[in-house]
Symmetry: C2
Subunit: 132 residues, 2 copies
Amino acid sequence: MFYIQIDFNSDEALYMQLRNQIIYGLANDVIHEGDSLPSVRQLADTIGINMHTVNKAYAVLRQEGFVKLDRRRGAVISVDADKMQAVKDLYSDLSVVLAKASCKGVSRSEIHDVVDKILNSYEEEDGQTDAV
Amino acid sequence: MFYIQIDFNSDEALYMQLRNQIIYGLANDVIHEGDSLPSVRQLADTIGINMHTVNKAYAVLRQEGFVKLDRRRGAVISVDADKMQAVKDLYSDLSVVLAKASCKGVSRSEIHDVVDKILNSYEEEDGQTDAV
DNA sequence: ATAGTGTTCTATCAAATATAGAACAAGTAT
DNA sequence: ATACTTGTTCTATATTTGATAGAACACTAT
């Protein structure tokens, strides 16, 4: 298990890196709805971090509506697609980022190009690899 | 002085809130190239935080190429528009945000709409207010 | 000279991060 | 039933970050 890359020299918190990696996996169709994530202990052992750090990442993902907890199957991918909330979150997440880019002279069309480039990268990835 | 709003109950660091507010001011044309920012001590006193916290925000803004230090005028807005770097930064800043939105079912066109909505809000603001 | 720039140094306190070990209720496997 | 695994919760500790504070420095403006 599996594709997750953790950078121990990063200034980003380990549990946040882990959360992000799982979201990337979802966006790139490497992880799918209904998949079981490894147990907190197992994943912690695999990537060499503490159980509680993985648990925190899972708790965040649950809070954000990406996983649900099935007592028999552990943490299961179950995306709660609250569209209204998602658009709200997107708006606040983008505001600072776009302001910064705009100040730096990145044009509207260039911003749209970057967005498309990122979105296209999801579809180019093959989603058939059984990663978990 | 002036439009800056700090939320002491936010989980976001004060110096980062301050940095963001100044970038918002730039994007919304409330602060302009060549404007002097208040001194670290003065701004700290105005918004009720420590001098070193303001200094850290200024240091970050300098590091990111938004202000330069003029010994006679203090911190002066001077946007170093390194387009290549700005697009790179935009790309990495957007990757997690867009992955999250994409997982939540926000479509490509909806994302572009949010981007345009944010960018349009900059142009709607009048930039004639002498804020500093 | 006096006062004001940003900056740098030490210091302290609170909070966040990561680690560790132990235990719990619930479910699975044998 | 027994043993094991699931996420979760509790206490505890070490490290780092964020925010505060006071002092001082080199430089500039008046």
